[in-house]
Subunit: 363 residues, 4 copies
């Protein structure tokens, strides 16, 4: 089966292949009356856009979003959402399909080439077709709309580790994130990564990364137990991003190494009797519902599978071959995954906000 | 919102609280003609059942499953599924509600007490009510049905780490898993864990754990890109289990520390032209679709939040208090999470098998 | 496929066969804090309950509902919903399975015997198994919960036609509905129907009926275009009831015979500028959204297929046979369908109210 | 809420307003390997296309469909579906927005103007915006894809009644349907309708219609009881079409006037032991599952609400006004509804076929 819709009440459906004429997303269930123009979306597209530094793929895409439905000028002449489906479309402009002619028959290891053929019996091999990370452009566009639904929440993602080299958590400065090509909040780490990533790029190798995402301002009460817990929706959302292999909430796997005492997030009441937490090991959720603390999520990206070193593989005819990928690829796909992680966080939270409102009337 | 249904085609819906009269699960979309009696389900219940060793909660539950619908004797007199909803019910027999009277008003840190109140304005505080791990009994029952749909798949979960102490992967012997109270495949580690877990139990502390689950025999082609990828469905499923904080597929976060060369799973053709893999860093998926290799998933469980050490907390009236939990709790909830992880793997795979069949006609 | 869940946000899932040990319904997404005891549900069960007059089946069922989850005493000691799944169970007490032994092999024309076998390859033939109208007991129970979510709405269903004999619309008196065994609002029609239905009963024949349902108090704005319009959700809901063959909103098929002028529902403003309608041909919806007028729906029930006259049929072995049904059946199944129609109206409206709130925040 | 997706496994999502730049549909879950080009879709678009006779709206739309994703050339060079989302887009070319300036503030009675405002607080008033029947162009495009999934089924819809004037059922000749502008299978009725419809057109009035749709070749076994019965899915699908007010399966409301004997569809075995039916009162379903007989459905369309006669109405400011519609409207919207009814039948059946295959493996 293919299943290209995400969300319960605030839902989006993406379509499009890497080298087709365009790709897009239909957003359904968006509240009406929210100001929305293409200018509100474009900055998020630009953050994800390829070809902006030598550390990411040199594919050049304008990634201009067009809003084709679901908005109208209100009485004040401001273009707002109408509550009907919002279709966002992005044309593919730089599709060098010839780059991919060699892989029409040979399966690139680590890519979805073999599995798409095994499942569907046919695939659009150009640039990975539907399995290309290019699909994430549609999510980033949808994420911009989702953010408008949750103005109370501030979402920030950054790369906290590349090739095993971690940031110094005491050196985190969120203002740094936009000052380097790695979405890195630690200026020293960013310096080191220049060398590490450039080395991988030059040698035709690739590196993995870990992206952390923090959502500040989520009120207590969002989440839909048992099978749409905030944690599980986030895990599901993040694991749909290309090249992801792991998701953690709060301390994640590290929590498995703590004792109950170490892991406890003690609470004391503030002047209104609301909890003030001494720590946030839990990452902002308990029982699948937000606690009022920042929601913290970490996502592991594997190294890009496209490398210059030949790897043993097979052809669609079942013969042995070797594959080395010569396309314009990211040496570290996790970097450009950062805006996508932010978008998925926004999309999950917007959906949960509306779900919560449906059942309880609360915000 | 509450959302208590999981699955796309093979769906299940659970109901019930820890200290209500009973709990259960309605399974919908199950293929007809599958032999199913209570005897087929009970062994899985017994594996999860509490009170079996000093390393788990001393709550005593018979956990007898009753099949209340969806089965009928076929022409040969064998009781089989009829394709209609299967309701499995388990009565709660050992509900010492008095144990929980103290926490009616005081929020246990790390538990869902505060968040359920924040969300719903009311909660059944007895034993955690709906947020209790007792709910997982219903999933284990459903998982037994799911297994019958995927006889080609063998699912094995085991604990690979408790309190930071890992098994020796070279010493893994799956036959060991049932020979110790920890679902541990490494007999030496099991010996060590006796001391570690008993120490935590005696001191009223608790420990985290990591559970690994392997599904052998999954054919290439299962998974529903982009938003119901095999990986994301597994991540979602696992993160709905109580106390989970992280999920990995294949090498998971470790993959983020490898180079593209190290992470590559080289393929060579077998005599039928099907791929033979040199390694399984990917954990059996590519592009969200199974590769034909074993599907490998790891789940992080935090230490049980119920500990004897007092922790600062607040009351439902917003006053400061301290909470120490005196109930009959698991010193390491990850242990009993193991059969639940197995069940969720089975439930996801059964759903994906039917979804795949719907779209492609293939198995 | 089987698909036993209805609703988008306020969802219910039914299970159980006619002659199994019990049947029930799991309600998910119910708002918390709503007073709910078995006493609130039972009157609706009693209205649907068989065996109350000679005009309906003589099967005797106590139809006692038990609430097994999802409620708890609030601070004032009132039992209220907690927002978690509500499981309602009804035991089957009068199951004369022997009555059905003859039809184990012979397909009753007009019943689902043949189609269930064609679809599933097996069926619980006792009393129709899953296809029995007994399943509607679960809906009526769920409907009682739905009503509590929409206290602003008053739902009334009545039989407006039996065997082609219609009520006099000028003689409608809603107080009459509970005064006769036909849910008939016209006392003269009720008198006539005594003879008509009794005649059918005595001769072993059966009659069709039309049930009308009116929901007063639905505010303007409920409905989820385009594919969950209020009209389409109602049509879907009503057509899931056993023996239904048609659904109309407002003037329905009669509207197809009117001109645009005749069919127009003129509006004038009230003192608040809200519309006052001159007529309600539309039945309370426009564009799939409620207009603020009463929502009016009519449902056609075919005559019960179980009749004493032998009808040509086939056996499960493919041989010719004749079937006459000797069980305890309703001569006019539409009568007991009336409370079910009411329940489905309530279930659709409750769902739409919550959906509307999710997107717009409005009630 | 807005809900713009239909289907369970074979799902489609429409977007677009009447006077926006374009409209479209994303089809998800389509089986791979099905030949599909724009040429396969266009004939169905042309059948629905406006401006083809004086009996329908004079809006001129090319209704050229573009396939923007989900297809690729197979090894033989034939363009086939790939199993990924298929996006079909249709540009709006003849949007005379000025026609609608008057209704920006005045609510047209019978239209969704008031209800969209009541629900969303804003609407695209140009041509009805999202509530325009123009949305059905997207469905007809999707329906063409659905037909390719069910080649065993032949779907034929026709108008059986306009303004209360019915066809002679003995005179039905399906070859006639394409020979007149009314999709009328009775050449004499078509003659009469010329006068009737032209009269309504000239006087600025409008007429209702009834459309009948027959699906031949549906095997026994399709349908998903209890809440996605074939009947209820059809009723839901048909009632989402603009201007529909009623749906019948088989004899529909007429069945409510028959006795059990009259309504019985007797069966005798054919040489393979399969049933041969003496009649088809049931319209091809029993218990919500197809019987193997033709599936028969009838849909009531109200008269177009846009008429030249002034009707009392209100403005968005709550003032009294009168509305007469001068746009280019259909005097009988049911005529152009005919291809839409066919499309919805195809879309429901394709979904049910895949659902059936998911659970049972059968076709």
């Amino acid at each position: 089966m293919s299943f290209n819709t995400f969300g319960r009440v605030f839902r989006f459906t993406t379509w499009g292949e890497s080298h087709g004429p365009a790709l897009g997303v239909v957003i359904d269930g968006c509240p009406p009356g929210i100001p929305l123009t293409e200018k509100d979306i474009q900055p998020f597209m630009d953050a994800r856009r390829p070809g902006q530094s030598k550390y990411t793929t040199q594919r050049q895409e304008a990634d201009q979003v067009r809003i084709l439905s679901g908005v109208f000028a209100n009485d004040e002449g401001v273009q707002v959402t109408t509550g009907t489906p919002i279709h966002l479309m992005i044309e593919n402009t730089d599709q060098r399909s010839k780059d991919y002619s060699e892989i029409a028959k040979a399966y690139r290891p680590g890519h979805a080439d073999y599995t798409y053929d095994a499942k569907y019996g046919i695939r659009d091999y150009r640039g990975g077709g539907r399995s290309s990370a290019r699909e994430t452009a549609a999510r980033v566009a949808a994420g911009a709309v989702a953010r408008a639904i949750i103005p109370e929440v501030k979402i920030t993602a950054f790369v906290c580790e590349i090739g095993g080299d971690k940031i110094d958590r005491d050196a985190i400065n969120l203002d740094e994130i936009t000052q380097n090509p790695f979405f890195c909040p630690d200026s020293w780490a960013a310096k080191r990564w220049e060398q590490i990533v450039d080395g991988a790029r030059k040698s035709g190798s690739s590196l993995g990364a870990v992206v952390e995402c923090v959502a500040d301002g989520v009120p207590a009460g969002w989440g839909a137990p048992i099978y749409a817990k905030l944690d599980s929706e986030l895990a599901s959302a993040m694991m749909t991003i290309n090249a992801t292999k792991g998701v953690e909430i709060g301390d994640g796997f590290e929590a498995a190494r703590l004792t109950g005492e170490q892991n406890a997030d003690a609470m004391t009441p503030d002047e209104n009797g609301k909890p003030v937490y001494a720590s946030n090991h839990a990452g902002g959720t308990a029982g699948g519902i937000s606690t009022g603390q920042p929601v913290v999520c970490r996502v592991a990206f594997k190294p890009t599978s496209s490398i210059l070193t030949p790897v043993d593989s097979i052809t669609s005819d079942g013969d042995a071959t070797q594959v080395r990928t010569k396309g314009r690829h990211d040496p570290c796909v996790g970097i450009r995954g950062t805006p996508v992680v932010e978008a998925m966080m926004a999309l999950v939270l917007a959906d949960q906000k509306l779900l919560h409102r449906a059942q309880t009337g609360g915000e």
